[in-house]
Amino acid sequence: MDYTLSTVAPIVLIPFFAFVLNAFIVKKFTKLAVAISTGAIFVSFLFALRIFMDFMNVYSVGYYIHKTFTWFDLSAGSHVFKVNMGIYIDNMTAVMLLMVTGAATLIHVFSTWYMHDDPRFGRFFVYLSLFTSAMLGLVLSDNLLSVFIFWELMGFCSYSLIGFYYEKEGAGNASMKAFMTTRVGDVFFLLGILALWSVVGNVTFVDIYKAIGAGAFNNLYALGIPLATFAGVSVFLGTMGKSAQVPLQVWLPDAMWGPTPCSALIHAATMVAAGVYLSLRMYPLMELGHMLPFIAVIGGITAFGAATIALVQTDIKAVLAYSTISQLGYMVIGIGVGSYNASFMHLITHAVFKACLFLSAGSVIHSIHCQEMPQMGGLRKKLPYTFFAMLLCCFAIAGVPFFSGFVSKDRILGDALVLALTNANHIYKLVALLGFGGAFLTAFYMFRMLFLTFFGEPRDHHIYDHAHDEHLGWNSNVPLLILSLFTLGLFYSGSFTGQGEVNLFGSKNEWFSTLIHKPDATSLHHFSEYKAEEFGSVDTRDKVQLTPAVYDENHGMSEHVAHEIHQIHHIGAILSIIIAFCGIFLAYSMYIKKSVNPGWWTSTFANWTKALKNKYYFDDLYVGKIIQKGLLPFNDLLSRFDMGFFDKYAIDGWASVNRWAFTISKWFDNTIIDSGMVDGTGASVRMMNVVLRTVQSGKIQMYFIVIVVVLAGYVWTLSF
């Protein structure tokens, strides 16, 4: 495929144009706007699919497309200040594009059912279109600056969609909270971008890689810490905000105020994953800054802590929200333990099954108009397709073999285990512990949710009897089933290129780990050959000369070390299978067989339960301590300074100076300007006026006579 403007740009532009168009027509032509929006994202999906197939066709690690154009150029002489924008597509981008457009298409279709009765049916799709184009723009971006632009655009969409039901006070507050909390991360992200700019001169991914490979960050310090660390931490703080890592996770549970499809798309599948995606892109920087243990610990705490909170939630969407935070924690663990492609794979698999879970939850909620799990039960007879989809997804997220979640999470946990057992840094032991513990809790709370919702006797017969499953149409079930199909592991672990057998347990020959390589210190020199091309140009890179990607069983390590690592991986895999089934069994015995009484646990660990129900008091901390004790007094102080000093001395003082100057200028004005110049001009004009106004009589015919006579005179003079 030849990559030009016309084959890549539509991915972003079609949803964007749909957004622009819909913004105008949505009030009058709601149905049409919805169709345009859905159609646009589907077309964009087709483009993404085409790119993906092309990359699978070439099947080389080094295949990339990098097109740039100059956004603005403020260079003056030798001082170069040029900002380029552009697109950068490599294997990771191609997979990401396919995931985003695919999930977004299905969620659009689902939304046509879910939001159908909503009075702001059309507006929802307007936001969705904008959001999707922003997300796709972020994925396609070749530099951090445009990533930041789209990042903020998504933040806005997230804000609008969380506050979609703005009549409810909670929704408004939640949207504000989400916006403000992610802002903390964004500020640091911007700081990181500036730090990188100061070193590299621009913020293109490839240039940053090149700079890192060339050692440009050596011996540079900012605020007394290495610049690489500074920039890395700043960028990672952006990730923490967007991907809801502790301690900036507080906004994501509240984001569930938004409509469920938007939760599925934004707060589960794509936008929150953008943070992880950014960290993955910036992995060499993280590595250079020696901050991987820090990242791993943050991820571990998030993964485990969110899982514990999810144990006690009764709202079905809250469970899913905390499970999202927890899974994002796993991805961050994956970055921290250097499990680059597993982390990315988890991003993809999580996006699929979490989108499916949210959509299932959405169809449950929409069918029974209730979100509280204690009031559900026995719904599997009423909602068989939903139940089926949710079951598959629960298997996937719990890490049952043959499902996607197992393939990705197992690899992260395996790598964590390897580091825990071999690395000198003991902090990794904690990370592995938190990871495995979180996996157990994940299996438990997901199946708790499943059992409470779909199994047993109906606990609230009123709700059960009024569940109107007949309203479920094709546009609600088909997306669910398609998504649930992709929870199967073989899609991610298989080899699509005929290299070896399809391995369902997925540790060998996967296309994922073959194609997506960690840009670590040893492989950064590849990027020095990468060239950016003009934006409009046709991609002329000779694809035949690229060497096909081959799976290296030893990961480039010596056979002995590789063997040891493989052994640990096997242990990790077995361990995680056992843990998953333990979790499922515990849930089964608590909520189906009822041989273990959950009430005993809550009463025995009452304090813990209380802490969990209050989300570890994070909200209280932020609102009560930081904002009220910290920010408000500071605010008071500032305002007092304003009133007492600035107003009193600076402004009032300036005013008195002015008053004095005014007296002088008034005299000058009155005597010289007014009487002398202005009135003098007036008088002279009036004198001329007396003469001239006889000419301007307003009688057109007089003018005409003058015109003709003057013309005649002019022509007469010319004719000599």
């Binding site: 307003g698 057109i700 015919q701 006579i705 003709v708």
Partner: protein, 101 residues
């Protein structure tokens, strides 16, 4: 008989008639009639010069545009006249001597 001189003479006569009408009449519509005469005189001049000099039709183009402009002028001019009549109940040119009110 058909030569440039006769055409120029006719065009000249039309033009002078137009000027006479423009100046002698006090009725705005009558003045517009004069304008039509003047425009036609100039258009005729262009067409004649094309024919009797190099015959390359550029003069015809100019004449065509003059006709176009005359049509536009008539439409807008008469629109203004009718509006003026609505306001003043008169189409006497001397009533139109002020810029406002």
């Amino acid at each position: 008989m058909i030569n440039l001189g006769s055409y120029l003479a006719i065009s000249f006569a039309l033009f002078v008639c137009g000027i006479l009408v423009m100046i002698a009449r006090k009725n705005i519509i009558a003045m517009l009639l004069g304008i039509e005469l003047i425009l036609n005189a100039s258009a005729l001049n262009f067409a004649a010069y094309t024919k009797f000099t190099n015959n390359n039709l550029d003069g015809h183009i100019v004449s065509l545009f003059i006709i176009v402009i005359a049509a536009a002028e008539a439409a807008v001019g008469l629109g203004i006249v009718i509006r003026f009549f609505q306001l003043r109940e008169s189409i006497h040119i001397d009533d139109a001597a002020t810029l406002q009110n």
